[in-house]
Point group: C2
């Protein structure tokens, strides 16, 4: 089915037998790597790296040159979509992303462009094509997008937020406007992920970073319903491409997420992976969920925590080891080396009985 | 047992029959009230208001003059304790609390003072005594403190944090140091809450605002274990004073929280109160859990959401209506009036069968 030299990650997503638990890390191509910081300084900006396929490819491959990771994830950002929809993304040092324009009313909603992924977002597709070629089938390449709800928070707030006061106000005062915004983002995101798959992505992940700030009912209505549509339409486009859903802080809704028909769920570090497996493990694979801060510990601490998560998941396939959130810039690369080695070494005992 | 004219709140905490569901709001004395903003401007600073018993009393009573709330909560801050332990609290406009000193090693831990609540924190006890008198037994007065884990995050980070990188590093690199810090905070907090009860507080609440960022095991070890000790020692001091525990983002741990022997659990807005009741409602009362952003909606929206939460909790006592987190400064006071009236009016049907 694939010509990949290492297809552990894809097999685990399909809950097929593997020799070891595959491992990759959210933000594995990032600031904790000196070679990343060097390239970023040279290139001038984060956005420049995202928008230059050769640089995005180089950054994507950096962690693979250091660690025997089982997957690459394309270096990009969930805010490429609102940027292409016309909000003009910039990054302010120390403050994170800032949009020049926001969505606040019917006019600003109507003014949004509906970008064609192979035109306005062609730089992402080119980055995927370039990276896919450079990978020479060593490991699979993951594509991704933000969930419509999560992307909408940035489009309405104009950047990061702690309180989400503008979008929450919109949700209670103009829910129809918000629904139309989510519709538009969903349409663009679906085409974007389909184009990523056409360009070579072997799996896709939807990051719902802010779904966890909603009530149970609002999560179903404003976040999950739109992810459901993306899952349906991406599967319709490419039945065999695995889809991973990750709602940070969404642990109580795993059952609902699993019924979308996605292949795997990402787990944040607050959840017990044994409980998650007993709740939804017969339907989906699970990705996670070491606490990112654990990488501040020494090698013994890291090995203990890896052993604990592997033991909690237990025997059999369906587990992709990862952090419960992105790796932070203050982590030493050698800690990642220890983590990856620990997963590969200690997980073998859980895959000894090969059932095919 | 009490001479209170309105003891609905205390009865509900003990799951005794009431005529209507009691209601109060976290941060009900706060910036959304014009009279609060006026007094704050006049007095010069938030800390000045906390530290001047007459001003703290005046602010505490402000919302009661407007709305028929069923409880008052003393105007104070969870950071009075680290301030009294010597870290020197200040507030930087737009940035929130900042400490001049932090805890980072054995020396800074040893340098911490162990304040006597009736000496270094006498201003809080005086505020309670003054307010208790001014209340003339109309409604009960709630005292409070932060959980040791939550207070420790500020003491180590030096203020608010999004990433908790310093305390997480400490947790993985010097867990013994962190445990000693938590021990000290626990000792001071226990005496502080006991003194608040002696000064007149009719119930106490422990705010564990940041317990939800921990793993299940770390929550038990670094947060819940210390709250357990406070619950034990406060009950030993005053068996009949109800204790409310609130871990924001701690929904998955309600069962563990309920076994501490506390009287009630606060619920954030992400939880379904019917599920919470079926999980722990036979052990504890439940306080919550309207989404604060709902107050951006019009009166119809507010009434719908109040009706939904009341219906989900269902018949019988044991529910104290509240928001799932503090009210935000951008809410209009008339929305609070609509909320309080809706709770009192619509809850009566759930209390018609008086079982005594």
């Amino acid at each position: 089915m694939t010509n990949l030299q290492n297809d552990r990650f894809l097999k685990a997503l399909r809950r097929e037998p593997v020799d070891k638990t595959p491992v990759w890390l959210m933000r594995q191509a990032g600031r904790y790597l000196p070679e990343y910081r060097k390239l970023r300084e040279k290139s001038g900006s984060f956005l420049k790296m995202c928008k230059t396929p050769e640089l995005a490819c180089e950054v994507t491959l950096q962690p693979l040159a250091r660690f025997p990771l089982d997957a690459a994830i394309i270096f990009s950002d969930i805010l490429t979509i609102p940027d292409a929809m016309g909000l003009e993304l910039g990054f302010v040092t120390g403050e994170g992303p800032k949009f020049n324009k926001t969505v606040s009313d019917v006019e600003s909603l109507r003014a949004l462009a509906m970008p064609d992924p192979e035109i306005e977002l062609r730089y992402v597709m080119n980055a995927i094509r370039t990276t896919k070629q450079a990978l020479t089938q060593r490991v699979p390449l993951i594509g991704f997008a933000g969930s419509p709800w999560t992307v909408a928070t940035y489009m309405v707030e104009g950047g990061s937020s702690k309180t989400f006061s503008k979008i929450n106000k919109m949700r209670y005062q103009s829910p129809a406007l918000l629904m139309q915004l989510l519709e538009k983002i969903t349409t663009v995101t679906t085409q974007y992920l389909q184009a990523q798959i056409a360009a070579g992505a072997d799996a896709v992940m939807i990051f719902d970073t802010w779904g966890g700030v909603l009530t149970t009912e609002a999560y179903a209505q404003f976040s999950l319903a739109f992810m459901q549509r993306i899952v349906d339409d991406v599967k319709h486009f490419s039945e065999n491409t695995p889809i991973i859903l990750f709602t940070k802080g969404g642990g109580q809704w795993l059952e609902k997420m699993a019924t979308t028909g996605c292949h795997a769920l990402g787990l944040d570090w607050t959840l017990d992976i044994n409980q998650a497996r007993s709740r939804v493990g017969s339907k989906v694979a699970l990705q996670g969920n070491l606490e990112p801060a654990c990488l501040h510990g020494d090698e013994n601490v890291i090995r203990q925590q890896v052993a604990s998560i592997l033991a909690k998941y237990g025997s059999g396939s369906g587990h992709i080891f990862n952090l419960g959130h992105g790796i932070t810039p203050d982590i030493l690369p050698e800690k990642v080396a220890a983590l990856v080695d620990a997963v590969h070494e200690m997980s073998q005992q859980y895959h000894q009985v090969t059932v095919s």
